[in-house]
């Protein structure tokens, strides 16, 4: 029983240590990630329903395809990668540790036969003198050697950059650090969005899922402006923002210029220019067909109003001077869209100076009510992305480690040289854990120089 249990544990452990599993996970992550680039992520599935039909939509929903990068199976794969990485490192670390900290300092027969680069020099010089010379040579040309004497012959060993054996572990560790940073960000940070109309301030931040964040200060939009290139392409979106603590402007955060690619950070919360829009208000009155029962009606640019007969209306466009479009008429006008309870959509222009036309239109379409345009108050709002992410520096630290680790792993190598000095014969050999071709070149030059040094 016990041994079978042990056997299972061992095989699970070996599975988690294996590079085959690593290949499998990496390729699976690559292939599965494609799904989320084809199926739009994070949009309400209803919008997608029309495109793919209800059966498929249900299936995708169950499989988590509409938010696949947060689905249980994708996260599971990332955890598997992490476990695989940790197990594999644990298994291999002792061997690397030994190579770095307990090097074989004596050139044995088996070691000798494993060298790709080796050279034997015969010499009549005394072994002690040879030892002195070799020691000095290695010290200046390569690295300070360890010297051992065994049975009257001398063994010298020296190495360069043994620590770069650890670089792969640094790379792997950096992946885990990045994951930790990401988790800190999702646990202790937020991503939100605010719209602030010019001249107004907000003190709460809407987040995509969950309750609004109350940061404890408020932000006022003093002004929003849009600059264009001569060809009409957008050049700059600019908000002027002021931070208020208990309603009082914070001096260093007054009239801060925030543009795309230049955010503002206050108390760890950052505001990014992201969009803008019309926050104007439109004023109407409604009457019945006789012009009686006057009531006021105010609409903003992004909302609609419901009329007594159940139809809903919203403003499409307004102009201060209708004569530009309809010669003969004058004054301001608004173009509205009406959705009737019967499901029809109509467009109508209502005028400020021509109540008779407004009444005429209403009569032509049956009953009332009659709409009259009274004018507008223009305003724009600025749309700001708001984010707080205390994990981001952990992520950057991980990234820096990763880049440094990859660089060292690829371009530095642990080079070792052994020299054995016997009576009448000197053997020099070596190896490198990376890039054998360039080591061989290096070794040839080194051993050449060494030969002339000792002779």
């Amino acid at each position: 029983m016990k041994t079978r249990f042990n056997a299972v544990v061992t095989s699970v452990w070996n599975g988690f240590c294996s590079l085959k599993l690593a290949m499998f996970i990496l390729i699976s992550l690559a292939v599965l990630s494609i799904i989320g680039t084809v199926i739009p992520q994070g949009i309400p599935p209803e919008e997608y329903l029309a495109l793919i039909g209800p059966t498929k939509a249900r299936l995708y929903q169950v499989l988590g395809f509409f938010d696949m990068y947060h689905s249980w199976w994708f996260i599971l794969l990332l955890y598997l990668l992490t476990v695989n990485l940790i197990c594999c490192s644990i298994k291999r670390l002792p061997r690397i540790w030994k190579i770095v900290f307990q090097p074989e300092t004596i050139m044995t027969q088996s070691l000798e036969s494993s060298f790709s680069s080796i050279k034997t020099i015969s010499s009549k010089t005394d072994v002690h003198l040879l030892k002195e010379k070799t020691e000095a040579f290695l010290q200046t040309e390569f690295a300070k050697p360890f010297v051992r004497e065994v049975d009257g012959s001398f063994h010298l060993f020296s190495q360069q950059a043994p620590w770069c054996r650890f670089s792969v572990y640094v790379v792997h560790l950096s992946i885990i650090i990045i994951f930790i940073g990401a988790i800190i960000g999702t646990q202790f940070g937020f991503k939100g969005y605010v719209t602030i109309t010019e001249g107004q301030s907000v003190d709460r931040i809407g987040v995509r899922s969950g309750t609004d964040i109350i940061p404890g200060f408020s932000v006022r939009c003093e002004k929003f402006s849009l600059a264009q290139y001569p060809n009409g392409a957008p050049k700059e979106f600019k908000s002027i923002l002021t931070v208020l603590e208990k309603g009082v402007p914070v001096p260093e955060y007054t009239n801060v210029r925030v543009i795309v690619n230049k955010p503002m950070t206050y108390k760890g919360i950052t505001f990014y220019q992201s969009s803008y829009g019309n926050a104007g208000q439109y004023f109407f009155t409604t009457t019945d067909l006789e012009g009686k029962n006057l009531t006021d009606l105010t609409m903003s640019s992004n909302s609609s109003a419901t009329l007594p007969d159940g139809s809903s209306i919203h403003v499409l466009e307004t102009t201060p001077d209708i004569s530009l479009y309809s010669p003969g008429l004058s004054g301001a006008a608004a173009q509205l869209e009406i959705h009737t309870p019967g499901g029809n959509t109509e467009q109508v222009v209502v005028y400020a100076n021509h109540p008779e036309l407004n009444i005429q239109h209403a009569k032509n379409h049956g009953k009332g009510p009659v709409l009259h345009y009274k004018g507008e108050k223009q305003a724009v709002y600025t749309g700001l992305q708001v984010a707080k992410d205390p994990g981001v520096w952990v992520v950057w630290a991980g990234c820096a480690l990763m880049v440094a680790g990859i660089y060292i792993a690829f371009f530095l190598s642990h080079r070792r040289i052994w020299v054995r000095i016997q009576k009448g014969r000197v053997t020099i050999g070596g190896n490198a854990h990376k890039n054998p071709a360039s080591f061989n070149l290096f070794f040839d030059q080194l051993s050449e120089k060494y030969t002339s040094h000792i002779s």
Binding site: M23, I27, Y229, V260, N261, M402, I406
Partner: protein, 284 residues
């Protein structure tokens, strides 16, 4: 002299260089290989000057920015980086034939850019007005170019492996004789990816840093981001393949080809077929 004239010269130089390398492949005349690389150098020089000129021209127009702001400029730059990596490889290892498998990529880019795209200099939209654009684009494209070279080398590997397996002594088998030895091709493939992988890593990191700086999220699973990660996973798999038994040789070469296909999809396919934040799309 204008930049657009020099870009045309570059396109022609890339074409001639490629044809010379093909002739070298067929004839094995060393002189042809030498002429091919010389013409490649000339084209590279012309393109370098052209890119610098275009940069200056944008300042003369009052919309000064690095010439990396739209699809045309990026394709031209991609071509430049491919030739750069190939020439560096040639300086170090002197395997000229590789040109026959790498110059076509550079030519394809230049020809498409010069013949099929609007070449006008445009002002920068607000989203691109940042120094991060330069760091991000340069690192990404240098990485992509190294992968292009690795892909060319892998194709040579696969050709040579197939020819020597199926008909070692026949005439066909000997076409690949002037290819570097199969072990060298395998090694060069690895070396090119060893250059590309850190650069792609830097490209992804600078992109994340920029996104964080401009929008407050370093990663939002936008299709372009995701595809760059897919490419990164494929090459990470390639690197580990070398340590795993049974995944070397042909399989590794195929992985390199698949990696480059994913790279090209990340660069172009995402803009053409998927939607997202990155604004190189739209082509014209």
């Amino acid at each position: 002299m204008t930049s657009s004239f020099l870009f045309n010269i570059t396109t022609i130089a890339d074409l001639i260089s490629m044809l010379l390398f093909f002739a070298f492949l067929a004839s094995r005349s060393k002189a042809l290989g030498f002429t091919g690389i010389t013409v490649a150098y000339a084209g590279f020089l012309a393109e370098t000057v052209a890119i610098a000129l275009r940069w200056k021209e944008s300042y003369d127009m009052g919309v000064g920015h690095a010439p990396l702001s739209n699809l045309y400029e990026s394709v031209v730059f991609f071509s430049w980086t491919i030739v750069l990596i190939f020439l560096l490889l040639d300086l170090k290892y002197r395997y000229r034939v590789i040109g026959a498998f790498v110059m076509p990529f550079a030519l394809l880019g230049m020809a498409w850019a010069q013949l099929g795209m609007n070449t006008g200099i445009e002002p920068l939209v607000p989203a691109l007005q940042s120094n991060w654009l330069l760091y991000h684009v340069v690192t990404c494209f240098l990485g992509y170019a190294a992968f292009a070279v690795a892909c060319g080398i892998s194709i040579m590997y696969l050709i040579k492996a197939n020819l020597t397996e199926s008909s070692p002594a026949s005439r066909d088998g000997r076409i690949a004789d002037i290819f570097p030895p199969i072990r060298v091709l395998d090694d060069l493939n690895y070396r090119a990816i060893m250059v590309g992988f850190p650069l792609l890593t830097l490209g992804i990191i600078t992109g994340a840093a920029w996104a964080n700086y401009a929008w407050g999220t370093y990663w939002s699973w936008d299709p372009k981001e995701t595809w760059s990660l897919i490419v990164w996973f494929v090459y990470a798999a390639f690197l580990h393949a070398r340590i795993t038994k049974g995944w070397v040789g042909k399989r590794a070469a195929w992985l390199s080809v698949v990696g480059f296909a994913a790279t090209i999809f990340c660069y172009l396919g995402v803009n053409l077929f998927l939607s997202g934040l990155h604004s190189y799309g739209g082509g014209k």
